[in-house]
């Protein structure tokens, strides 16, 4: 188990280093990056099987106890989300290698290795058992995302990159202050020890810490009203980069929130979270309706979907947390696939603006099919994975007899379907504009097959919805009753 966890965290960064060393030899570079990611993917799945069968396992770096050393905890929640996250990056890297053969896309010398660094950060953020290592993992993810966003140095990227960097740097500074508060109040940054000590604090300090970290993680997760940086910055990056950001970055914020706020028992924040969740869903979906570019519409959807995960968390019940975890697992691949299809459209038409593309359904039926499945899934139409996830969240809301949030969730779903229809009408139906098609580089088989692979993956999620629901439920039970987690780490 130690080896598996180590490979998942360190494998991608080793691959990235080798890739940077061999950056002038495209084949060796891509091979090194891919091998690192593949090793991480395989070991992440091995961790899932291991944890599902044998329960939580704890790795103490250097053999230090939880008071002093860094503790890595592979519980079912981490083990469930981790393989999905790492697989996504692997598939996107395949797509990127395909796209590199065309003139478009990210700079291959940097983008591949940096995706590896980002993967290491994601794995560390999910497996870590202490708050300070979570901060370091966040920084690892963010630093590589800053470079990925701005490495081409174009005007739009630098302009929106500045907003993105300043916003995230500010929330990282707040994170540091939060660590100081937590350490001053409890004398530890280990999450298991915190879960014991934070409930003993006076109510004011406890809720203050909870609210502070809600703001920190909420900025990363683009929760209303802290979302304005997202739709400006994401669409300017090359498609493969946006796909990874869309699938993972905001979700790491939600992941940290689910982990921190359920473990510390911040149930009092539930009503605030639910109100913000409702507003986030509606504002995100309405924002998407107002846009006229595929990538910008999809970026606003990220915000809207974050609302559903926050709703699951804000209910602070086992059913709600189950829904949030299931939504996380469904949303990451579906969102990534949609952005990859956005990239396919862009490469085919030369633009992702709605009014200048059109008629793709008859000319490129494969792209249309690849778009339709995740789009319907995102809107929550049965039998796709989005339906299962949305059903879990909404039924948890009904169980908690919270009518306003259920109505907001359903309205958000309808609005999402509307804006997906908008993309479909403009891009896939309508009249083709042949003038533009000349300039576009077209799509390579590797890009199409990587996207098809990812779509197949999202279908697998709906196929194994029962198993996933059971696993999410077990993970939620573990998170809600944190005695097992504390016992494993402190023993």
């Amino acid at each position: 188990m130690n080896a598996l966890v180590a490979i998942t965290i360190v494998g991608p960064i080793i691959g990235a280093t080798l890739g940077l060393i061999a950056r002038d030899h495209p084949r060796r570079r891509d091979l090194a990056t891919l091998l690192g990611l593949a090793a991480a993917t395989l070991s992440a799945f091995a961790i899932l099987v291991n944890v599902a069968n044998n329960g939580t396992s704890v790795i103490r770096a250097g053999g230090w106890g939880p008071e002093l050393g860094i503790v890595l905890v592979a519980d079912l929640f981490a083990a469930l989300v981790l393989p999905v996250a790492v697989t996504i990056i692997f598939v996107v890297e395949l797509f990127a290698i395909g796209q590199r053969r065309t003139a478009w896309g990210a700079n291959p010398e940097l983008a591949g290795p940096l995706l590896g660094v980002l993967t290491s950060g994601v794995a560390l953020a999910m497996l870590t058992g202490d708050l300070f290592t979570l901060f370091v993992a966040f920084e690892l993810i963010l630093v590589s995302s800053y470079v990925l966003l701005t490495h081409q140095g174009q005007k739009a990227q630098i302009g929106s990159g500045m907003t993105y960097v300043v916003m995230n740097l500010f929330s990282s500074t707040l994170f540091l202050f939060g660590l100081a508060f937590v350490y001053a109040a409890t004398g530890t940054v280990n999450m298991a020890l915190l879960a014991e000590r934070i409930p003993e604090l006076s109510n004011g300090v406890r809720i203050g810490i909870g609210a502070w970290f809600f703001v920190v993680f909420g900025t990363k997760a683009a929760v209303f009203p802290l979302f304005s940086w997202l739709p400006d910055s994401y669409p300017t990056a090359p498609t493969t980069i946006t796909a990874v950001f869309a699938g993972l970055l905001t979700k790491i914020g939600i992941y940290a929130m689910i982990r921190f706020h359920t473990l510390m028992g911040m149930d009092e924040l539930g009503s605030v979270m639910l109100i913000l969740a409702g507003v986030t869903m509606i504002v995100g979906a309405l924002g998407a309706l107002a846009q006229s570019d595929v990538k910008r519409i999809l970026s606003f959807h990220i915000i809207s979907q974050i609302g559903y995960m926050l709703m699951g968390l804000g209910l602070f019940s086992v059913a709600g947390t189950t829904g949030a975890i299931l939504f996380l697992v469904h949303h990451m691949p579906v969102k990534t696939v949609l952005f990859l299809v956005g990239g396919l459209i862009e490469n085919d038409r030369g633009t992702s603006r709605l009014e200048r593309s059109g008629g793709l359904a008859s000319r490129r039926p494969l792209i249309a099919a690849l778009f339709a499945v995740p789009a319907l899934s995102l809107a929550g139409v049965p039998p796709f994975s989005g339906f299962v996830a949305k059903f879990a969240v909404v039924s948890a809301g009904i169980e908690a007899a919270n009518t306003p949030i259920v109505i907001a969730a359903l309205v958000g779903g309808v609005l999402t379907l509307l804006s997906m229809t908008k993309i479909w009408l403009a891009v896939f139906w309508g009249k083709p504009d042949d003038e533009l098609a000349e300039a576009a580089p077209g799509n390579r088989p590797l890009m199409l097959s990587a996207t098809a692979l990812a779509v197949a993956g999202t279908l697998l999620i709906s196929l194994f919805a029962g198993t996933l629901f059971d696993l999410s439920n077990r993970a939620a039970v573990d998170l809600r009753s944190d005695t097992a987690y504390i016992a494993e780490v402190t023993s």
């Binding site: 302009g159 907003t163 500010f170 500074t173 540091l176 202050f177």
Partner: protein
């Protein structure tokens, strides 16, 4: 926790916040370095009262008395390294923005600008 440290954290934070609300990236960078120092000082302060260097004495750890808490210091060092790297990255970004546009101003939010122009058309 000493009053001097608290005052220093407060002063640095307010100056930092004032600076990062500016439009030009060079001011924002200065603001972030002040904020970073404030956060690191807060971390150090969270470790409790000052004391001897945290090195285990020859007589054994049980005999150690009045030493400073080393854990927040280790955390602070990590935070300092990270904020140093990020300051450099921000400087590079500001330099790039300057070569592209001639200044280093942070641009308007796209939605804000669209709403502003939409309002201008209707009036």
């Amino acid at each position: 926790m000493s009053v001097a440290l608290i005052l220093a954290v407060g002063g640095l934070t307010s100056a930092g916040i004032y600076l990062i609300t500016a439009r030009s990236l060079s001011r924002i960078i200065l603001g972030f370095s002040l904020l970073g120092h404030a956060a690191v000082l807060a971390l150090v302060a969270s470790g409790g009262p000052a004391g001897e260097a945290p090195i285990a004495p020859a007589e054994g750890i049980a005999k150690a008395e009045g030493i400073a808490n080393p854990l927040p210091q280790a955390l602070s060092l990590t935070a300092i390294v990270i904020s140093f790297g990020l300051t450099l990255f921000l400087l590079a970004l500001a330099a790039r923005q300057r070569t592209l546009t001639g200044d280093d101003l942070v641009e308007d939010d796209l939605e804000d600008r669209r709403i502003a122009t939409a309002g201008g058309e209707s009036t």
